[in-house]
Symmetry: C2
DNA sequence: GGCATTTGTGCAAAAATTGCACATAATTTG
DNA sequence: CAAATTATGTGCAATTTTTGCACAAATGCC
């Protein structure tokens, strides 16, 4: 039923959907060409106002977002605004930022706000593609790989419980009484579950 | 039993423990002086090998870490190594990196690896202090404020379960059969739990 | 218009949780 | 150090939860 991130053999394109957002139309063309050679679908957008709509419809894996839309305002605040906008969505795509103004503070601030990577113009095509791939893969594992809509792995309640218990034991430094309290279960049950999970 | 991050009135020092790590001893002195005027305790370390020991003993809230120890290797790889080292600890302190070589890629990579902020030499004392404070506060809320070793909040198994179920429903787009499968419980049980949790 | 899947719910058997008890450790404290 | 307090591991019976199965109605799909 699903056919996501499969093979990536020679001449094979990655089955990912990239959305490029930049107000420079010429640049947009170039990027579409470059990325189109390696990704199955590359969308292009010159008006960031439309981001929301596009993300709602298509299944976008990564957004490549320019930091500066307004040429009179080169501090990247527009980019940050749209970054926030995208990252506050429900199941946000990976976001890689691109800018001509290599400002460390801007880069750091972007990362704090949830950007997945940061690229400066002029960029190297291969490393841009690599960064996009890395960002997508990281996002996919973080999301349990539900990029294509169909979940791949999803932590079972039992698995989550096991982890939670392990963590509680650690936090409580193996004080069973405390750990049981933290977990909100009776001490007897904690013993039972520990046996069940081999802890 | 704990008395962390209290007041910060005029002339009052923040009750935080900062550890500065740099191989430049002169710089270390300066930083100790600068930070010492605003933080209760400021430790200083010129040999990163000793980080682990210091972090084990004291209750360090934030580490200010230089990126370049070996003068012949200016790519920051040493700093990243120690950053990883610190952040892989159990209850890691906030880490703010400091470097003379303002390299965007290095900054981005640092943030990816869990640094909390990034400062370039020459720095502004006030903003350095602010960054440290922000980093510590962020870390404290993230950890639920268990910096002092005693757990404050800990998610109960039921709470975790509730969250997990909510997420599963979202992932499965409210397909109950699928959601139950994802969670590894019977469909009937999913209905029961949803009622119990008011989902 | 069917055929397959999903939904919500009932029911009884099986399993898990809970509170309590109790004999021993282990830890704290004066 | 000795007493007092707290934690441990386990048994047991009452209670609660989970499970599998069933079934009629609703929904989706070709």
């Amino acid at each position: 039923m699903s056919q996501t991130k499969l093979f990536a053999r020679m001449n094979e394109k990655y089955d990912y959907h990239i959305l490029v957002i930049d107000d420079n139309v010429a640049l947009l063309q170039t990027l579409k060409l470059v990325l189109g050679s390696r990704f199955k679908r590359v969308g292009v957008l010159s008006n960031p106002q439309l981001i929301s709509g596009v993300l709602n419809s298509g299944n976008v894996d990564a957004v490549l977002l320019d930091m500066n839309f307004d040429a009179r305002k080169l501090d990247g605040s527009d980019g940050l605004f749209w970054l926030d906008n995208i990252k506050s969505r429900n199941n946000p795509p990976a976001v890689v930022l691109i800018t001509a103004f290599g400002d460390i503070d801007l880069a750091v601030e972007s990362m704090k706000r949830g950007a997945d990577d940061f690229v400066t113009k002029p960029w190297d095509n291969e490393s841009l593609i690599k960064k996009l791939l890395k960002a997508i893969e990281k996002r996919n594992v973080a999301n349990g790989g539900e990029a294509a809509g169909v979940p791949a792995q999803f932590q079972t309640i039992e698995e989550a419980e096991r982890e939670k218990i392990a963590k509680a034991l650690e936090t409580a430094k193996n004080n069973m009484t405390l750990a049981a309290g933290l977990l909100g279960i009776s001490r007897r049950t904690l013993y039972n579950k520990m046996q069940k999970y081999g802890l």
